[in-house]
């Protein structure tokens, strides 16, 4: 069994426009095959952290090492990450078309994979003919998840991936992610405001506020015995404990 870390972050600081210090001395690591939850106040820097991990921040210091070939992210705002001028079928096939050499897939094989993935996220195959603007919020969110998973990634950052889904489909997506985690060893950084969903998904959780990690540990322990006042406040507001 591999025990190496897939992600290691040391003393990370991120700034916007020089003045705005958004992430303050963040350090943490993730084991390969782990699901780590990230919870925190709106505006505290969760999405900024996710973008830093994917190399999308220009103004930072500290070290980020991600040991994974093809990291993927499901963005909080799926609309802006889907190409508006392409049909869903095209968007989902794109990562499959990129496969080269021995991995190259025929048209039929690509179609088959897309169809299977659509079924897994609970969408009708007809949706391939639609443009992103022609979908409901929850349908778009599922397309963003499907697109990320079709990349066969080992590391996924999911930023509020189930917030636009009704609870039955939400349960289906949670199962799908947990299955991929179990069967393929998928590592997930799972950002969410829903503390119950975090409990279902994650082994460990970090609580963030104002650019800092306030508390971290096993989900069970933190939910049962929170140390930080803000964590307590969150759990209370969510009617946990």
């Amino acid at each position: 069994m591999e025990t190496t870390n897939i992600l290691e972050i040391n003393n990370l600081n991120v700034y916007y426009n020089k003045k705005h210090h958004v992430l303050k001395d963040i350090s943490f690591s993730m084991k390969r095959g782990e699901i780590l939850g990230l919870v925190g106040e709106s505006g505290c820097g969760k999405t900024s952290l996710a973008k830093a991990i994917l190399g999308m921040q220009s103004n930072y210091d500290g070290s980020i090492s991600l040991d994974c070939r093809n990291p993927q992210m499901v963005f909080q705002d799926p609309y802006s990450s889907l190409n508006p001028s392409k049909k869903i079928g095209w968007i989902l096939e794109e990562p499959l078309r990129m496969k080269k050499g021995t991995e190259k897939l025929t048209h039929a094989k690509r179609q088959e994979k897309v169809a299977q993935m659509l079924e897994k996220v609970g969408l009708d195959i007809k949706i391939r003919e639609h443009y992103p603007s022609e979908l409901s919020g929850g349908q778009r969110q599922r397309i963003a998840i499907a697109a990320a998973l079709l990349c066969d990634t080992g590391f996924l950052i999911a930023d509020e991936p189930v917030s636009a889904l009704d609870v039955t489909i939400q349960a289906q997506i949670i199962k799908l992610l947990l299955q991929l985690h179990k069967e393929m060893g998928l590592s997930i950084l799972f950002i969410s405001h829903d503390l119950r969903v975090v409990y279902m998904m994650c082994d460990r959780v970090m609580i963030m506020r104002d650019g800092m990690i306030l508390e971290r540990g096993c989900v069970d322990e933190i939910y049962k015995n929170p140390q930080n006042d803000y964590t307590k406040l969150l759990l209370e507001a969510a009617n946990i404990n």
């Binding site: 999405t47 929850g138 930023d159 609870v167 489909i169 947990l178 829903d194 409990y199």
Partner: protein, 268 residues
């Protein structure tokens, strides 16, 4: 005055932008009383947002047919002139859209966008008055340093901050009807609670009627007196919140209630 603010009769929405027409909202009926908070829950893709957009007069496209009746404050909206609609939009009806990024203008500062309805519907106001109201409104949605947020662009805000900006702009003219389409999905639970209190206060003090669309069933239960359940373009069940939760009549409603996340690990 009639105590019914919104009366939707046999609403049908059909898209003609593909080979075969798609019938996505089917014979929807709903009634919203003045001062009422009505919840809409249901399947993703079941037509909740489209129904909301139809009420707000935003489905006027050649490739969409809408039929039925939407009577708001005694006026028929589906057949109304565009100029008639423009008087109502943002003034009598405020909408918090499900995806802030698609409705905020990326090239305009937040303050400008929050003030938009004031510029249209309150021409007598001067710049300073608009500024004061906009800052007040941003503050009411729990945004720290509203004066700073006022000068920012949408991409400089977090997802939850943008969502609160949407709420602030929808409420600024104190509409008779506030349509809130998934208004708290990007908010942490403590801020979510503050927003719920804000909506309740608005409803109590200004008699604002609220159409609250959400996947968060416990939130809907707390906020709404009555709930509509939608599935596949139809309203499948309707009733008092308590009743829907304790004694659901339809299979789909039961399935929804059973799927409310609990504090336990699912079996894989």
């Amino acid at each position: 005055m009639d105590d019914i603010l919104l009366d939707i009769k046999n609403l049908n929405i059909e898209f003609h932008d593909h080979d075969a027409p798609e019938h996505v909202v089917k014979n929807v009926n709903m009634v919203l009383k003045r001062g009422e908070i009505l919840g809409i829950v249901g399947e993703s893709g079941s037509g909740k947002s489209l129904t909301a957009m139809a009420i707000a007069g935003l489905l006027r496209r050649h490739d969409i047919t809408t039929d039925g009746r939407i009577i708001f404050d005694g006026k028929e909206l589906l057949g109304a002139k565009r100029s008639e609609l423009r008087k109502i939009q943002g003034n009598d009806i405020g909408v918090i859209f499900q995806e802030p990024m698609t409705s905020l203008n990326p090239t305009k500062r937040i303050g400008w966008q929050v003030e938009e309805s004031l510029r249209i519907h309150r021409p007598e106001m001067d710049k300073a008055q608009r500024y004061r109201l906009a800052v007040e409104s941003l503050k009411s949605v729990e945004l720290d340093e509203p004066e700073r947020i006022y000068g920012k662009y949408p991409h400089e805000l977090s997802g939850g901050m943008r969502q609160r900006v949407m709420i602030a702009s929808a409420m600024i003219c104190e509409p008779k009807l506030l349509i809130a389409d998934e208004p708290t999905t990007a908010l942490d639970v403590t801020i979510q609670m503050q927003i719920v209190k804000l909506l309740q206060r608005l409803n109590r003090e200004k008699k604002t009627s609220i159409l609250f669309i959400s996947h968060d069933l416990s939130l809907v239960k707390r906020l709404c007196g009555r709930i509509l359940v939608m599935h596949d373009g139809r309203v499948v069940e309707e009733g008092a919140s308590e009743e829907i939760f304790t004694d659901p009549k339809q299979d789909y409603t039961r399935k929804l209630i059973d799927a409310i996340p609990k504090l336990e690990k699912p079996e894989i």
